[in-house]
């Protein structure tokens, strides 16, 4: 018999009306990285909540090292050496890294904090596992990636043996993801057992030893990752074939829709300009992708393009009209649709209902208002139509409070709103961030549809796969400048990576802004 550190046997967790976990078995070997894969709502979180003591299962038992255990609350879980890095970090922003790590288990002598002792242990751990942190920095001052390392150190400081990572890469940049995956491997090599919740197949293929797949609360099986493929995993997860390559015909670019000339945008963080002298065109019927590593000016570029920020110099023309100084609404009426980077901050009023959000860009139009009074009947009809056409799923239809919807469906709502609005240019900023493969496939299809409908699409993305698959033309942005124009058919990920990291530049005629 193999040596399992945790066995969750035949777990059934029922909520009235829904079986969240139906007879699920998950066995974690010591020292392995075990991925838990499933779409949003497949029951991954419920299963982990059972293990972490937040829920009690109706049926099934949990064994640790072969002995049955009862986990009634998170404290029990901690005592058994189970630790969890939540998707949304549980850190005290105004405390230092060290204070956060020792929070709740502060070493003390007669009530006096022994900080140096704690610091020693933290530094030792941080060295041992390559978790670079500055113990004296405040949480609010450090990057998301470092905050996550603090969460990991928290578990290690408590000598946890079983580490649960709940979608840890959703908030990280590509480099940080790479670093995290390496840390996870190191931890496993040191004998820690890791449960890795995710829906990113690439990451599973890269680090996990085995993978358990859930679909709609049911157990689909556990596979050895080295014996399987991405395609097979996604079929198990979604229940149908997923195409990773986006199917599309040759682009037929027509007239110039968006023309940017010598755009310069100030930075909010440093004195230099975030965008320097950028010029390019986007034509009707093509998808142009602005690729680059996060923080190279993409956010500022999009804000200046859509009107959230002012230009320092340069001009933007949309369908031949200069919109450099137009208001956001004028740009929107002039044919610009914008799927924003941060759907919670900009894209949605989370406390509004779904129908109210669906008319967020159009509530003032004749169709929806009469002398300043909103025609709620019309809004409802329109919302129901969009919900049907774009397959937006929610608990109570148009009346659902948007906050309660899943990320994928929130994004669908934004896409429905922006695509159904009259537009000539669609600006999509990281539209697939944090979504599962099913939703990603759907969104890519919508982008290609727009292109084929003769619209111009400007996609801003950090995901190399997305850049390569979806776009007809790639512009690489590095430190606020366009450093290369590539044809996705003639380039490869390696070359793209060189441009994105600033190691290579091209000086072809189209790009007049070098230096």
């Amino acid at each position: 018999m193999e040596n399992y550190i945790v066995e969750m046997l035949n777990i059934t967790k029922e909520f009235p009306g829904i079986i969240a976990n139906d007879d699920i078995t998950l066995k974690l070997k010591k020292g392995e990285i075990h991925a838990l894969l499933g779409e949003n709502g497949a029951g991954k979180s419920t299963l982990m909540s059972v293990l972490f003591g937040l829920y009690q299962a109706e049926k099934g038992i949990i064994k640790m090292n072969g002995k049955e255990v009862k986990i009634n609350n998170p404290n029990d879980a901690n005592a058994l050496g189970i630790g969890m890095v939540h998707q949304h970090f549980k850190l005290v922003e105004v405390f230092t890294v060290l204070e956060n790590i020792i929070l709740g288990v502060e070493p003390n002598k007669m009530g006096f904090l022994q900080e140096s002792e704690a610091k020693e242990k933290v530094l030792y751990l941080s060295e041992k596992y390559g978790l670079k942190v500055n113990p004296d920095a405040l949480i609010e001052d450090i990057s998301v990636g470092m905050q996550q390392r603090v969460e990991i150190l928290k578990m290690l400081y408590r000598d946890n043996e079983i580490l649960i990572f709940d979608e840890p890469t959703a908030v990280l940049t590509p480099q940080e993801i790479k670093e995290l995956l390496k840390i996870m491997k190191d931890l496993a090599n040191e004998g820690k057992s890791i449960l890795f919740i995710t829906h990113k197949l690439n990451e599973i293929m890269e680090v996990s030893d085995r993978c358990t797949v859930l679909r709609k609360g049911k157990y689909m099986g556990t596979v050895d990752v080295k014996d399987t493929t991405k395609e097979e995993l996604s079929r198990m997860m979604v229940g149908r074939d997923i195409t990773f390559t986006v199917e599309k015909e040759e682009a037929k670019p027509k007239d110039v829709v968006l023309s940017i000339k010598n755009m310069t945008v100030a930075s909010k963080i440093h004195k230099n300009n975030a965008i320097r002298d950028v010029s390019f065109d986007v034509r009707a019927g093509e998808i142009v992708c602005l690729a680059g590593i996060d923080g190279n000016g993409q956010t500022e570029f999009v804000h200046a393009l859509t009107g959230l920020e002012k230009l320092v110099s340069g001009s933007i023309k949309l369908c031949g009209k200069d919109i450099s100084r137009s208001s956001i609404r004028q740009r929107s009426m002039g044919g610009m649709s914008h799927i924003p980077e941060d759907r919670h901050k900009h894209g949605l009023v989370l406390d509004y209902t779904l129908e109210e959000n669906l008319v967020l860009q159009r509530y003032w139009q004749k169709q929806f208002q009469n002398n300043g009074f909103i025609k709620f009947g019309e809004v409802r009809k329109y919302a129901e139509d969009l919900i049907e056409r774009f397959d937006i799923r929610s608990g109570q239809g148009p009346e659902t409070i948007t906050r309660s919807m899943s990320g994928g469906n929130q994004q669908k709502a934004i896409i429905a709103r922006e695509i159904d609005k009259e537009h000539e240019l669609l600006v999509a900023v990281q539209p697939t961030r944090g979504l599962d493969v099913g939703a990603i496939e759907y969104i890519h299809k919508q982008l290609v549809d727009r292109r084929d409908a003769g619209k111009a699409v400007l996609l801003i993305s950090l995901e190399l796969d997305e850049v390569m698959n979806v776009s007809d033309r790639i512009l690489v942005i590095y430190e606020g400048e366009i450093v290369g124009e590539l044809n996705p058919k003639e380039t490869n990920v390696q070359e793209l990576g060189l441009y994105m990291s600033g190691a290579k530049r091209n000086t072809s005629k189209e790009i007049k802004n070098e230096g």
């Binding site: 909520f15 829904i18 969240a20 208001s327 967020l360 009074f373 909103i374 608990g395 309660s404």
Partner: protein
């Protein structure tokens, strides 16, 4: 057995319906705050004077009923300041300057009442409108600072409370038509400028409360049904998203603050233009450099009413009701200030609204509708 199984399901369904109503959790939490406040007040009374605690408590709870006219009369100004605070809050602005706007409105109304000669039927209306304008100006300025200079509205409006109060006191004291220096109070407002009485004997209740309630209903309609209300609430919920959607945030901030100020100004006008039960006399104002309490009571009223215009009608009437009852407790030997203690506790609990809102609602849900509660939760997760 079958019947038994069937019966609870029916009640459960009803409860589910009620608990899902939007105002339900606000209502339960307000109710809970009131109950806790009253219990606390009773304990204080018991502690101070056990013998008459029960009689005193009866006055607090029921005393107002005998003087219903006065209840509405005293509810009028706090209704208006409550609406002022609540309306601004819908847009995410904390208008703590209702006092200053109220005082400004009071002065503008007084000025028109004494200095302008107008026909009988319209004098009081013009005076009321003047009060509104005065409040609007005093709300507009902090709004302007907030929108265009990014100065926090809390700070400016607190300062404007003082500026407004000192200005008004100065203006009044230097105006012999308005001010009687021997009594250190303003004169009785001319008859033509007094708001018509509602004719309930022994009380000053007047047409002001009717206008106030109408305004509350109009505000409710504006917030719920108009594009302006839609923009206002969107901005209050998520400033960034409203900007992204092209709403004119700055214009809306100034507008919301001006309207809020106008409401508070109306409160001041309603107070000072009220007729008196005694013919020939009226309300008077004493300029003694004290910030008007009715402005801050507006914050309390708004909190208890959860910033909802219709909720604020009830909370204003309720607070006025126990205030009236409170004054009666002196009949059994308590200081009327006891009621301020009760109100303070109610406000404390209202301020914990976030906690109360979930806990009180959950408590009732878990007692009666345990399963539905969980079901919703699961549905949420399963999406």
């Amino acid at each position: 057995m079958k019947d038994k199984k069937g019966a609870p399901r029916k009640t459960k369904f009803d409860i589910k319906k009620i608990t899902q109503l939007q105002g339900y959790s606000s209502f339960t939490s307000a109710l809970m705050a009131i109950v806790l406040g009253l219990i606390f007040g009773f304990m204080v009374m018991l502690f101070a004077n056990p013998g008459s605690a029960l009689a005193g408590f009866r006055f607090v709870v029921l005393g107002g009923l005998g003087r219903i006219g006065d209840v509405f009369y005293f509810a009028t100004p706090i209704l208006m300041t409550g609406l002022a605070v609540g309306f601004a809050f819908k847009m995410g602005l904390f208008n703590i300057g209702a006092s200053g706007q109220y005082t400004m409105g009071l002065y503008f109304a007084l000025y028109v009442a004494f200095m302008w000669q107008l026909p009988n039927g319209i004098h009081w209306m013009v005076a009321i409108l003047a009060g509104m304008v005065g409040g609007m100006i005093w709300g507009f300025i902090p709004g302007f600072f907030k929108a265009f200079l990014n100065v926090n509205e809390v700070i400016t409006s607190i300062m404007f409370n003082y500026i407004g109060m000192y200005l008004v006191d100065m203006w009044i004291q230097s105006n012999a038509t308005i001010y009687v220096s021997s009594t250190t109070r303003t004169r009785y407002v001319p008859m033509s400028a007094q708001i018509p009485s509602l004719g309930i004997s022994g009380s000053n209740v007047n047409f002001g409360i009717v206008i106030g309630i109408l305004i509350a209903i109009i505000l409710y309609i504006v917030l719920q049904k108009t594009t302006f209300g839609y923009e206002l609430k969107a901005t209050g919920f998520n400033k960034h998203a409203s900007e992204y959607a092209g709403m004119k945030g700055k214009k809306n901030i100034v507008l919301a603050m001006a309207i809020s100020g106008g409401l508070a100004g109306l409160g001041g006008a309603f107070l000072i233009l009220a007729p008196s039960g005694i013919v020939g006399s009226s309300m008077t104002y004493e300029p003694i450099n004290i910030i008007a309490a009715n402005g801050f009571n507006g914050i309390a009223v708004s909190l208890l009413g959860h910033s909802h215009p219709l909720g604020i009608i009830f909370s204003a009437v309720f607070i006025s009701h126990i205030q009236r009852g409170g004054t009666l407790t002196s009949l059994v030997g308590y200081k009327p200030e006891i009621i301020d203690v009760v109100i303070a506790v109610i406000i404390y609990f209202s301020a914990f609204a976030m906690i109360m809102k979930s806990s009180a609602g959950k408590f009732i849900k878990s007692k009666f509708g345990k399963k539905e509660n969980k079901e919703n939760k699961v549905a949420k997760e399963a999406e």
